[in-house]
């Protein structure tokens, strides 16, 4: 008989309690894995929007907490274009609108018609690109068009005005495919934001020897740009990955995910602690016997810790599976469509196992110490 065999049999002796404890841990681990995967997935997808457009840097107004409220003069684009190392500059006016028939706000972007941003969109037949002659025209992402049940040629109502669906595009990016896009002019007049944009996107020249260094230099230059009267324009420039990472929504999502995970883990650990304390108390006599027949304190500790690690590790395996199922189900939810990304990364799995070790240690540490320090005579009352 192996030591592990012995420990396993202790756990199997109290099947219901063992199962419930494992379920408790697995729900906690599943919450962690699912939440971290969803927020990581959201961040990755956001980054890939910029990557697929070839955007290296993003410029917004300095000091704005919410980026959708960033407002810049669109003429600044020309000054950015003059800086060395820059290949192309495009502008975006960001807003969000509610459509009839959708639950939440839908992101709506306005792009100049010559923007390189259009290159990343694959317009599905029978639709076409926006053209300068189009008035009140809109492109819909494939997912959004599906949610709205709109085809090319249909009309959609935006802010009380009717817009014609000129094309439906597919970008392969779930965030992008939930957007609507119109010409910058149309969006500016729709929102009464004439000659305003939210941000500029920059692509760097392909032949640069050190892109990171160029980005650092450009960042300085852009943030120090001055008006004609010599005051700073007040711009914030970042590499696009950093821009996504520092987005308030993404930071908030990460924080919420971690807070919820921490609560789930604390609850899971307390459940485990409770199980292990009761199980050690119940076995006071048995532990006394083991001590009497020569087991050292260390072995008693090991026995209890291996029991709690077995519970938490099994909980982690089940929790990861549960999270996988949860994410698949959530991704199929119409309301969450596009927001939930189906993958669990290796990093999150490793983190889940590390956290399960922590849960095992928290849940088993004190009971192990307590069990090991039970005086053998307590258990063995003669007469």
């Amino acid at each position: 008989m192996h030591f592990l065999d012995f420990v396993l049999r202790n756990l199997l002796r109290r099947r219901v309690r063992t199962a419930l404890t494992i379920v408790g841990v697995s729900v906690a681990i599943a919450a962690v894995v699912a939440l971290l995967s969803i927020t990581n997935g959201y961040e990755l997808t956001s980054k890939s929007v910029y990557a697929s457009h070839g955007i290296d840097m993003v410029v917004v107004k300095a000091g704005v907490a919410d980026r959708s409220s960033s407002t810049l003069d669109e003429d600044l684009g020309k000054r950015l274009q003059e800086l060395s190392g820059i290949s192309k500059v495009s502008a975006t006016l960001r807003d969000s609108v509610s459509f009839e028939g959708t639950s939440g706000p839908v992101p709506l972007n306005g792009w100049p018609l010559d923007s390189f941003n259009f290159d990343a969109l694959n317009i599905l037949p029978p639709g076409r690109d926006l053209e300068p002659t189009d008035k009140q025209a809109v492109l819909l992402g494939k997912t959004l068009a599906g949610n709205l049940d709109k085809k090319v040629g249909d009309e959609v109502e935006i802010e009380g005005k009717n817009f014609k669906v000129i094309g439906i595009y597919e970008s392969g990016n779930i965030i992008e495919d939930r957007k609507a896009i119109m010409s910058l002019r149309d969006l500016q007049s729709l929102m009464d934001r004439i000659s305003q944009v939210s941000q500029f996107e920059i692509t760097l020249r392909k032949d640069l020897p050190d892109r990171t260094a160029t980005i650092a230099v450009l960042r300085q230059e852009i943030e120090n740009l001055k008006d004609e009267d010599g005051t700073k324009v007040g711009l914030a420039a970042q590499a696009s990955d950093d821009f996504v990472k520092s987005d308030n929504q993404i930071r908030l999502a990460h924080a919420m995910a971690w807070i919820t995970s921490a609560i789930a883990l604390i609850v899971g650990s307390i459940g485990m602690l409770n199980t292990m304390i009761v199980s050690v108390l119940e076995r006071t006599q048995e532990i006394g016997i083991l001590r009497a027949i020569g087991w050292r304190k260390m072995r008693i500790m090991r026995m209890i810790l291996v029991e709690s690690f077995t519970l938490s590790f099994t909980g982690a395996v089940l929790g990861i599976l549960l999270a996988f199922v949860m994410i698949q189900v959530l991704a199929r939810f119409p309301a969450a469509q596009g927001a939930v990304h189906g993958g669990i990364t290796m990093r999150v799995i490793v983190m889940a196992y590390l956290l399960s070790i922590l849960v095992g240690l928290v849940g088993g540490g004190y009971p192990a110490l307590r069990g090991a320090n039970l005086p053998p005579t307590e258990a063995l009352r003669y007469e």
Binding site: I293, G294, Y382
Partner: protein
């Protein structure tokens, strides 16, 4: 072979002392309860000793001290001349030197007979294969080889006690401590256990210390130590008087 006294049996006169108790006292509950008071005794290698006394006399306290499950408040115990208070790892000492047999057997209910016997061997560094082999040998020795894969609940009480004796012998300790080993057994299984003890004593040279209420059990021992009110009863007259009381 029995002389029913606290005196040493003549056949062990030259044997070395295995366990010496030197002026040991044990008090409980902040010193107000004295369970054992200034007890001294010697047990020689190969002796078979019974400890008798009424309930509450202090004999279980003495057994706990002899078995190193507890430490004395004052005084010292010596095992083969070494003071036990100097030992850093009493658990390791206990697993190699002392085998316990309990009144209620205390087998682990989820383990089969052969697995129960292996429990003390976990501390010896034996491989799983060595543990299994030795456990089977020990079960054969106590005539339980045919029941090796049975759980305690599937065994009779007499069989359980024999498995427990095999477990006590797992690490081949020189000293066996038994607490009312026949207390829960019918007379036939009780006799089986006592003949097993006789065999361990005469053929394998084990030192046996048995705590008992039963004169029949004590009759198997070479020497009886009487305990009363936390002390050893020394005079033969006192002992006889106590025997009548028991």
């Amino acid at each position: 072979m029995n002389n029913h006294s606290h005196l040493l049996h003549p056949s062990h006169n030259g044997a070395p002392v295995i366990l010496q108790v030197d002026r040991v006292s044990r008090t409980y509950a902040d010193g107000s309860v004295t369970a054992l008071n200034d007890v001294s005794l010697e047990i020689r290698r190969g002796e078979y000793v019974a400890i008798m006394g009424p309930s509450g006399s202090g004999k279980s306290t003495l057994l706990n001290l002899l078995g190193t499950l507890d430490r004395p408040t004052t005084g010292e115990l010596y095992f083969e001349g070494h003071p036990l208070s100097q030992l850093r790892d009493l658990d390791a000492f206990r697993s190699r030197k002392i085998g316990f047999v309990f009144q209620s057997f205390y087998l682990l209910p989820t383990l089969t007979a052969v697995e129960n016997v292996q429990i003390p061997m976990f501390e010896t560094g034996a491989t799983p294969a060595q543990r299994v082999k030795r456990a089977y040998e020990l079960l054969e020795m106590v005539s339980m080889g045919h029941r090796a894969t049975h759980l305690p609940a599937q065994l009779s009480v007499g069989e359980r006690q024999r498995v427990a004796i095999a477990r006590a012998l797992a690490n081949d300790p020189p000293l066996l401590l038994a607490d009312e080993p026949t207390g829960n057994l019918d007379s036939r299984s009780g006799n089986d256990v006592l003949s097993l003890f006789d065999e361990l004593h005469t053929q394998r040279g084990k030192t046996l210390i048995v705590i008992t209420h039963s004169q029949e059990v004590a009759d198997h021992a070479e020497r009886i130590i009487w305990i009363r009110d936390g002390g050893i009863v020394h005079s033969r007259a006192e002992a006889l008087k106590q025997r009548e009381a028991v």
